[in-house]
């Protein structure tokens, strides 16, 4: 059983620059921020190393942090430029009984994160959901389609903070 700080030191030794920081002084549990383009290698290491054995991805959540520059037009419509979209991964080792939270942040305009669906199969649909609702692209994902919204939805990704719903979809009025 290892705590987040011990795991952070292990990862730092192995991956160096790709491990960005450890945040331990949070009201929530401590988490490690890593490079989104090297996430798959890091996760493979976390899942397969004998002293870590993270065999379960408990949750994968996309977050629009809305930390870019916000502008409002005269109708009050919000537009955010710059900043990041993030993904949080909650891992657990069912045999060693320890847990870990990972965070990756990617630029809002072209958010690309490497897929972990090869390592944990359950990540497949979670990543599709994060793609559908937040707009994060998962590189090397086997089937990155929308999962909840209609396949031909063109108005964007609904859980982005500056999302605007369309007036019509397939001839149906959308607003009340």
């Amino acid at each position: 059983m290892k705590n987040t700080e011990e795991i952070f030191n292990l990862l730092k030794e192995k991956f160096g620059e790709a491990i960005i920081e450890l945040k331990a002084d949070q009201p929530v549990e401590a988490f490690i921020t890593v490079n989104p383009l090297e996430l798959d290698k890091i996760c493979k290491y976390l899942a397969e190393t004998d002293e870590l054995k993270f065999d379960s991805l408990m949750n994968l959540s996309g977050v629009d942090e809305a930390n870019g520059e916000s502008t409002k037009d005269e109708e009050g419509n919000l537009t955010i430029t710059g900043g990041t979209l993030s993904v949080f991964y909650h891992l657990e080792s069912t045999s060693l009984k320890h847990k870990l939270t990972l965070k990756v942040s990617a630029p809002r305009e072209n958010a690309e994160v490497t897929s972990v669906s090869e390592i944990w199969k359950c990540a497949d649909w979670h990543e599709r959901e994060a793609y559908d609702l937040i707009g994060i692209k998962f590189l090397n994902h086997p089937d990155l389609r929308r999962i909840l919204m209609p396949y031909d939805w063109e108005a964007g990704h609904p859980l982005q903070k500056d999302y605007r719903n369309p007036e019509y979809y397939q001839g149906m009025k959308v607003p009340y």
């Binding site: 919204m149 209609p150 009025k173 959308v174 009340y176």
Partner: protein, 163 residues
Amino acid sequence: MGLLDKQFNDENIVITKVGDLLNWARLSSLWQMSFGLACCAIEMMATSASHYDFDRFGVIPRPSPRQCDAIIISGTVTLKMAIRIKRLYEQMPDPKYVISMGSCSNCGGPYWEHGYHVLKGVDRVIPVDVYVPGCPPRPEALLEGLLKLQEKIRNESLVKKSA
């Protein structure tokens, strides 16, 4: 009024009008589509089960839209589902009836403002005969909705086209 309150002139003979007889037959065997969308569908299933017993009004679920007289829209109609509902409705043979069950399918319900994925009322894609309010409606309310629909069918005319 109904069929059975017409007078009995002989032991086995009921005198009535053809229209009334046909309407009575249609309203007494409304086959509904076995189709549920959300939590309202749980109440609809409870209505079908032994305690409330939809079958005593002749309502039985059919697995194909081609064998159905009525469809109960029981739950939240998402934009993705609305297209499928329209297609199912179009596959049903005439005459066909729609019961909109619960606030979601009546008007969008709790999703009316922030539900980016919800159609604000199923009447935007198919014509609705009876609206049953509630969130979700109790089985008694759905039964009342069915009785209203039966009332509507009872007053239909074979000659005049219904609205």
